[in-house]
């Protein structure tokens, strides 16, 4: 057993080494901690023999919910989709670390890319009116008195489009989005919170990097 764990440790170190070469924002020890956390979250393989290679949607969503207080299903799915770069329905260790690098410590540019990807629900590289409407549909209190309860949302979409759609094609391209966010940083999470706030970031980092080291 000890031999195995020793091997594991060595393996972990080499993996950490390779990953740290192309992941910014984390140093090697931090990556090791993240790997440990990742394996911890994976838990025991459900069926022995079949190695589990990544976090599935459910597990990932519960992480987002528990650590970062996210509640919006659509946004959480978007975050999962963004982490899961190879679209295999699982967040692998590499994807986990690369994703967190942006999620926790990304620069503005990285975050713009990340957020755009989260909001681009169908992955066509545009945020369409329908997608916006979809993401914003619960964001206004509906006045039952109004004829069309969705009118407010539709209007909000129009307002947003007016502000962000620089090429006037009725949808947001990445360039539109990037330009708008650079002009006004508040628009980064325009269609829903998909990044952690500073307190939960600090808590998570503390939890992963410090408590894990103590173990």
């Amino acid at each position: 057993m000890s031999q195995l764990s020793a091997m594991n440790r060595k393996l972990k170190q080499t993996v950490a080494e390779t990953i740290s070469k192309h992941v910014e924002h984390f140093n090697k020890t931090e990556i090791e901690c993240l790997i440990r956390k990742f394996t911890g979250l994976l838990g025991e393989p459900a069926a022995p023999g079949r190695a589990v290679t990544g976090l599935d949607r459910g597990k990932f969503r519960s992480i987002l919910h528990n650590f970062f207080g996210m509640t919006d299903d659509m946004i959480m799915d978007g975050v999962f989709r963004t982490f899961d770069k190879d679209n295999d329905g699982l967040v692998s260790m590499k994807e986990w670390i690369e994703g967190l690098s942006v999620f926790l410590r990304g620069t503005l540019d990285e975050k713009i890319k990340y957020c755009f990807h989260v909001y681009d629900l169908n992955g066509d590289n545009y945020i369409s009116k329908e997608e916006m409407f979809h993401m914003l549909k619960n964001s206004l209190i509906r006045q039952p008195t109004e004829e069309d309860p969705d009118e407010g949302i539709k209007d909000l979409v129009e307002i947003t489009l007016k502000k962000m759609d620089h090429d006037h094609d009725g949808r947001l391209s990445f360039l539109d989005f990037e330009k708008a966010v650079k002009e006004e940083n508040l628009l980064l999470e325009a269609f829903g919170t998909c990044l952690p706030d500073t307190t939960s970031t600090d808590l998570f980092e503390q939890h992963v990097f410090q408590e894990q080291l103590e173990q």
């Binding site: 993401m135 914003l136 964001s139 407010g152 909000l156 307002i159 508040l186 999470e189 325009a190």
Partner: protein, 1065 residues
């Protein structure tokens, strides 16, 4: 249209039949225009109806304005549409146009485009009774009849049933709109006088106090005719409110019959006897118009007039005390809107907040709730039958016709008057407030610095409300605010971003945000936990808070507290934004006090803690610097209050400011130096600025390229250079030259004032004057003696006065003709300037050549006449200036004699209570008394007893000049004896115990003179003068020795003579 046009529209009185350019007419026109435009597609059938007679007016339209559907021949136009007889429905032969249907009308206004309002105006002006033309005589007359409804059916001819039906429908449409117009107008009229009911109410409350039993009773009773008060504060029935009447009173004075009084916006008058609510008659005016209730009562009841005088004081006192209490309670209860503070914590406030804002709001949603009775009359229900409404109304209308006709001419005047009466009351109150002793005032207020010249006064809003002219932004903003209220975090952030795209520096947008209740939501957002919402909200607040009214509203709503709280936030962006917003809001006292009371000063000072000058700033450090910059901006605004200056000092702000002063960036330096110069009015700051080594940096920045920065630096030096060490430091750091170079910027008066001020104060040190002389500062300054604002002149002249310390200056000023400019300035009125000018004139009068010019220009007379100036500073400064003038004039005595009444003036000033004035006058008297003739005149004017009376003073400065004056005045007649009789000798002996050697000198001289009278010698001897005099004889001063010895000799001689007499007789 009919009634509102004939009755409500404001026609010019001169009979030319023009519609006046008033906002009310403007809105009337717009409504009518809107009606015409809409009718075309809302009721196409009715719109086709052919008018009985064409509406005809001269238009500005030309043939080319018309499009298809028209026959255009040269300049003439005819419509394709024709009536049954083949006449075109529209015909234009410039400049006249004939139109025969609404559809053509609406097309026409469409063509007219931006001139459409003008067209409608022209049309209405030339068709004073459009209804007559549209419907023909029989229909139009309906309006005048009371039983219209029943008559209508009979009028419809069987043959023309269909046509008539249409006509009837159209008629109803027009009637409905007429009603709508009237209603809007009523609203407008009541808005114009919006504030007035409150004044009336206050007056009545005041009068009610006089109804109390006992001796003070001046009235028996005061009562309203109606207990029901409308939401707008009026008690008159609605249809009377249209005549701008507010309420009716029944007042019973002690000596005459009951008075029935109408209060209207134009004034108060006695009516025909309205005894109770709902009276049908008696509204007519039976007395002249009075400006307020008290005036009316005074003229009607002699008893009231007699007694109110006795209570006049009380009448004034009453509101003022209320006012003060109000000021004190401001923080607890924000201007009578206590519920606001509770509501802040909820974001989605709907009901109350809305209600409140609809009250303030300029929109047309305002609804007065009439009491049920009026509803029964069908007055306020637009749905009710038009005819029925007319019937109840027209009788009243006719009765009021007389008053109504006067209305147009009075419209503007009455409005002005209403505003005046409203404004004048707070005005008189506040002036009264100032007069109340400080004890009664809130300590906070009285302690504010008097230097706050740029203080903005809190102003009550006098915005003309105009329903119709709301810009499109208003509605867009209203919509956004709705989303803000009902949105989650994401929607809120999006909406805030959208709101930022408006031009938030524009007043329309700023006020729109407030008026639709947006300010409240923005402030509520500050209390949430959502960082992004707070950032967004602050980004908007910092912009709109450039508006004075917005600032006040933010403070009223308790928003400033929330903003101050955010200064602690861990998010740097938030801290910076909050500080920046505070910088804007804290432009008036109450706001600054709030900042302090909620610990804002300490928090702001904490923001300053950063290192501004690292070579390579990391991103976070850069942010720190930005936060510090915003913090300084806020402190700058706050530092206009004395207490805040102390608070900044206490919080340790000065060293931090000193560190920021090392920054390279102008945008940082300007607020830092701005704050420092603001605070430099306090002694403690001046010392700190010097000891913290900031003078060096201030001097350095004098050479910056930024005028504003230079100005603040110069201004800081101006204030600090009162201190000698500071002056030396400025010289040491080579600050004098840059100061002189600033004098070149003659176009920037503020900068010039600051620079000349700094030069003035620096030149108090002779070493600095010598330096200035090198830079030819004096020549430049003399050039600035003309055509400059007073704040510059004061400093220039002050500097000139100090420059006179160097003899060379006197020659220079003589050469460059500066004396003439100085003497010219003596004719001014600015007291600070006069003090400096007289001082300078005095300083240069020490030179004979200059004195000659002064005398030629009649400068002495000018200086002398300044003794009559009410300001003690000017008086004393003028008296000091007189001394060298008298001394150096060619024939001083003759010159003084030539000033008729001058000596009497001087003697009378000895009755002043100001020691400085007394000292200066004594000095002048000493000079004047050198001329025997003048001394005789002085004596005649009773100078001796007045001087004698002053001798009991303990002020050494005064003692010195007083003794000198006494000494010189002894030279005439029996004055020595008179001084003895006036009891002046004994106190003078006491002067010898003073520690001030100059006092000794002049006292010894005076005593020597006085000792020539034997009785005085006895008194002196009794008071033990010999011992101190012997002591003084040992002084180094020859004059002093001589005087003391002479005095003792006289005493001794007397004693000897005495003994001789006893021995030999």
């Amino acid at each position: 249209m009919g009634v509102s046009l004939t009755k409500a529209a404001q026609w010019t009185s001169c009979g030319s039949g023009k519609l006046e350019l008033t906002p009310m007419n403007e809105s009337l026109l717009k409504e009518i225009l809107c009606f015409v435009e809409k009718l075309g597609f809302q009721h196409p059938q009715e719109a086709e109806l052919v008018f009985e007679a064409p509406l005809q007016w001269s238009t500005t339209l030309v043939a080319s304005d018309f499009k298809t559907d028209y026959d255009i021949r040269d300049l003439e136009v005819q419509s394709h549409e024709k009536d049954s007889e083949g006449h075109p429905l529209l015909q234009l032969s410039p400049p006249t146009v004939w139109v025969r249907s609404f559809s053509q009308l609406s097309k026409l206004v469409h063509f007219a485009d931006y001139k459409k309002l003008e067209e409608v105006r022209a049309c209405l002006q030339e068709n004073r009774d459009p209804l007559l033309k549209i419907f023909g005589p029989c229909f139009a007359n309906f309006t005048e009849r009371e039983d219209t409804h029943s008559n209508v059916p009979h009028l419809i001819d069987e043959d023309q049933v269909k046509d008539s039906e249409l006509k009837l429908k159209l008629f109803h449409l027009v009637q409905n709109m007429d009603q709508q117009l009237l209603k809007n107008l009523l609203q407008k009229i009541s808005e114009q006088v919006r504030l007035d009911p409150t004044t009336v109410k206050n007056d009545i409350e005041l009068l009610k106090r006089f109804c109390s039993e006992g001796e003070k009773r001046v009235l028996k009773s005061v009562r309203y005719t109606s207990d029901y008060e409308f939401e707008n504060g009026c008690r008159a029935p609605l249809w009377r409110q249209l005549h701008s009447e507010i309420c009716y009173l029944v007042i019973e004075p002690c000596d005459t019959d009951e008075l029935y009084i109408t209060c209207s916006t134009t004034g108060v008058f006695i009516n025909g006897g309205i005894k109770h609510e709902g009276a049908e008659s008696g509204y007519e005016r039976t007395s002249e118009m009075y400006k307020d209730l008290v005036t009316l009562l005074k003229s009607q009841s002699p008893y009231f007039a007699e007694n109110i005088k006795k209570q006049d004081f009380a009448v004034q006192e009453l509101p003022s005390t209320q006012r003060i209490q109000h000021v004190e309670s401001v923080d607890m209860e924000e201007q009578g809107q206590p519920q606001r503070s509770y509501e802040q914590h909820e974001k989605n406030v709907h009901d109350k907040a809305r209600q409140q804002h609809t009250l303030n709001k300029a929109s047309g949603e305002k609804k007065y709730e009439p009491c049920p009775r009026w509803r029964n009359h069908g007055l306020m229900s637009p749905s009710c039958n038009a005819e029925e409404k007319k019937s109840s109304k027209s009788s009243a209308e006719e009765r009021s016709c007389e008053i109504q006709k006067k209305k147009p001419g009075q419209g503007a005047k009455s409005k002005m008057k209403a505003e005046f009466s409203v404004c004048s009351i707070p005005g008189s109150l506040s002036s009264h407030k100032i007069k109340t002793p400080a004890g009664a005032m809130p300590v906070e207020l009285s302690s504010e610095s008097s230097l706050e010249s740029e203080e903005e006064e809190e102003q009550s809003e006098c915005r003309p409300e105009n329903n119709i002219d709301l810009p499109s932004e208003y509605w867009q903003i209203q919509k956004l605010v709705k989303y803000l209220k009902g949105g989650d975090q994401t929607a809120t952030v999006l909406t805030l971003c959208a709101m930022m795209d408006f031009n938030l520096m524009q007043e329309t947008c700023q006020l729109a945000i407030r008026d639709v209740g947006g300010l409240e939501v923005l402030i509520n957002l500050l209390d949430t936990d959502e960082v992004k919402c707070k950032i967004g909200s602050l980004k908007i607040l910092r912009k709109i808070s450039h508006n004075v009214q917005i600032r006040q509203t933010i403070v009223d709503m308790g928003g400033l507290q929330s903003i101050v709280k955010i200064l602690d936030s861990p998010v740097k962006d938030l801290r910076a934004l909050a500080a920046e917003t505070i910088a804007n809001v804290a432009r008036f006292r109450r706001a600054r006090r709030t900042v302090r009371q909620y610990g804002g000063i300490k928090k702001l000072v904490k923001l300053l803690d950063c290192v501004p000058n690292l070579a390579n700033l990391t991103e976070t450090k850069e942010k720190d610097v930005e936060v510090a910059r915003c913090g300084t901006l806020a402190l700058w605004s706050c530092s206009k209050s004395t207490k805040n200056k102390e608070a900044i000092h206490k919080a340790g702000g000065i060293p931090l400011l000193g560190r920021l002063l090392k920054s390279q960036h102008e945008n940082m330096l300007i607020p830092v130096v701005g704050t420092l110069q603001e605070c430099a009015s306090e002694e403690s700051y001046r010392i700190a600025i010097q000891t913290e080594g900031m003078i060096k940096d201030l001097v350095k920045n004098l050479s910056s390229d930024n005028d504003e920065l230079q100005m603040h630096c110069a201004s800081a030096i101006f204030k600090c250079a009162e201190d000698k060490q500071t002056r030396d430091l400025v010289r040491k750091y080579k600050g004098l030259h840059p100061l002189v170079s600033l004098l070149q910027k003659v176009n920037n008066k503020q900068l010039l004032a600051a620079a000349t001020g700094a030069i003035w104060k620096c030149s108090i040190s002779v070493e600095n004057v010598a330096k200035f002389q090198e830079y030819k500062a004096l020549e430049t300054l003399i050039g600035l003696l003309t055509d400059q604002p007073e704040e510059v002149l004061v400093n220039v002249v002050g500097a000139l006065g100090e420059f006179a310390q160097i003899p060379a200056s006197k020659a220079i000023i003589h050469k460059s003709g500066g004396i003439k400019s100085l003497v010219n300035l003596l004719a001014g009125t600015n007291q600070a300037l006069l003090v400096n000018v007289t001082k300078a004139v005095g300083a240069y009068a020490t030179d004979k050549a200059n004195m000659l010019i002064i005398d030629q220009l009649d400068g002495v007379r000018l200086v002398w006449s300044l003794l009559k100036n009410p300001s003690a500073d000017v008086q004393s400064s003028a008296a000091w200036a007189l001394c060298p003038c008298i001394e150096n004039a060619k024939d001083g005595g003759e010159m003084v004699r030539s000033l008729v009444g001058g000596l009497e003036l001087i003697v009378n000033l000895l009755k002043s209570t100001n020691n400085e004035v007394l000292a200066s006058i004594c000095a002048a008297i000493a000079k004047i008394a050198k001329d025997k003739e003048n001394l005789a005149v002085l004596t005649d004017h009773g100078v001796i007893p007045l001087l004698g009376k002053l001798t009991n003073t303990t002020d050494d400065r005064l003692r010195c000049y007083l003794a000198e004056a006494i000494g010189h005045c002894c030279m005439w007649g029996s004055n020595r004896k008179s001084f003895g009789e006036a009891g002046a000798v004994a106190p003078l002996v006491r002067y010898l115990k003073s520690k001030d050697s100059t006092v000794h000198q002049s006292t010894a001289m005076a005593l020597y003179q006085l000792s020539k009278d034997p009785n005085n010698c006895i008194t002196m001897h009794e008071k033990g003068v010999v011992k101190p005099l012997i002591h003084i004889m040992g002084s180094n001063e020859e004059m002093l020795q001589e005087a003391a010895a002479g005095c003792i000799r006289n005493i001794r001689l007397l004693a000897l003579a005495n003994r001789k007499a006893r021995l030999f007789y």
